[in-house]
Amino acid sequence: MCIAVPSKAIKIEGKVAETELGGVIRRVSIEMVPDVKVGDYVMVYAGLAISVVDKEEAEMERELWEEVTEVLKDAANRND
């Protein structure tokens, strides 16, 4: 239901951040993500940042992927 896209906060002025995504500059409200810092990625939904993207977790997701592919390896082995 909710088209939200990650954008990079490039400037912060009070309750508003200027964000950038592939060259698109938007001013968004950061009232709901008060801890956001310049350089962070935020998920923007209808003009409001609803979440700061967690870089470590993003990394972890990739790791999770690697981990899951182990299943494949295991299974392949099992089939041997």
Binding site: M1, C2, I3, V5, E20, L21, G22, G23, V24, I25, R26, V44, Y45, A46
Partner: protein, 329 residues
């Protein structure tokens, strides 16, 4: 269907229905029914018309004047013809600044000069304040078909390849950015350009050029559907081959648009005999308006318009309905 809606003018299924039910049935003749960008008269003369109502009147990368000339130069060329003469008719709101009118007229003259066409007849109407929003321009255009050309929306055949002359959606996004106060860095400029010189070179390939169409309202998606319908074929394009600027893609993600629905005003879709595909691509790339040209698909006999996705899957391409609306879901 009891009132005309914005969607009826947006290029897409609603417009197709309006045109078929209201106009085509009533005017009914072989020229109009051909559903080409330009009618073919006397065997080798093309005739086309378009009204331009773009808002804002001056937009990033162009203005209504350049658009009005390029739009008709391009349509007049799309049967494999050399455009020669344009008419232009202005409808102007009382109170419109003459200085802006001068800028528009100058821009038209420059575009006509660039395209090598002459504006040979005109008309000016002034309507009372509020009777029109600023200025509208109609242009009609005449071209002469190149020798040995046989270009028609009906000519696509399975096996042919589909090319586009450059990046997709620049005009539509430039307009959108001006209207929705989206900012781009660097700014997205409209691609509005005359394509007749590019077409002139392309036509050295003669009958190998099967279809030419400029993906204006309704975008690339709508043109593919039109070709599919009028030629009775299917078309498949490759998602990973589509030239599109990152910023256009980002803005589409942001607002929920499909860039295949965005208007282009300086691009053409060509269907070309597979044997000449690379040659056609080279010709396009050699032109100043074809640098980003790409082979984006192929004609098949599926009767469907599909896209091979990044994910190795295939799906039907979403056909535009009409009005483009930013959305949240």
């Amino acid at each position: 269907m009891d009132k005309v809606l914005l969607s009826h003018g947006g290029g897409g299924t609603m417009m197709e229905r309006l045109i078929e039910e209201v106009f085509a049935k009533t005017f009914d003749n072989e020229y109009l029914n051909a559903m080409e960008d330009a009618a073919l008269l006397f065997g080798n003369i093309t005739l086309t018309t378009d009204s331009f109502t773009v808002k804002p009147i001056f937009f990033p990368g162009g203005d209504i004047g350049r658009l009005a000339v390029c739009g008709t130069v391009n349509d007049a060329s799309m049967r494999g013809a050399k455009p020669l003469f344009l008419t232009c008719a202005f409808i102007i709101e009382e109170g419109y600044p003459i200085e802006e009118l001068r800028r528009i007229v100058k821009s038209m003259a420059e575009a006509a000069e660039e395209a090598g066409v002459k504006i040979v007849a005109g008309d000016t109407k002034v309507v009372e304040k509020g009777g029109v929003d600023g200025i509208f321009i109609n242009t009609s255009g005449i071209g002469v078909v190149y020798e040995n050309a046989d270009v028609s929306i009906k000519n696509a055949r399975p096996g042919d390849v589909v090319l586009i002359s450059g990046t997709i959606g620049d005009h539509g996004m430039a307009i959108m950015s001006a209207r929705e106060e989206l900012q781009f860095d660097p700014p997205i400029l409209s691609d509005v350009s005359p394509l007749n010189k590019l077409i002139e070179k392309l036509m050295t390939l003669g009958k190998a050029v099967k279809v030419l169409r400029d993906p204006t309202r309704g975008g690339v998606a709508e043109v593919l559907y039109e070709i599919s319908k009028m030629s009775g074929v299917g078309i498949k394009i490759y998602e990973d081959k589509l030239p599109v600027k990152a910023s256009v893609k980002s803005a589409c993600d942001l607002m929920g648009f499909d860039f295949l629905h965005l208007a282009n005003e300086g691009k053409l879709i060509a269907v070309v005999d597979r044997k000449y595909a690379d040659e056609a691509l080279e010709i396009m790339k050699s032109d100043k308006y074809g640098k980003d040209a790409a082979i984006i698909g192929e004609v098949n006999d599926s009767k469907l318009v599909t896209i091979d996705t990044f994910y190795g899957t295939s799906r039907i391409i979403d056909r535009p309905i009409g009005e483009l609306l930013p959305r949240i879901c």
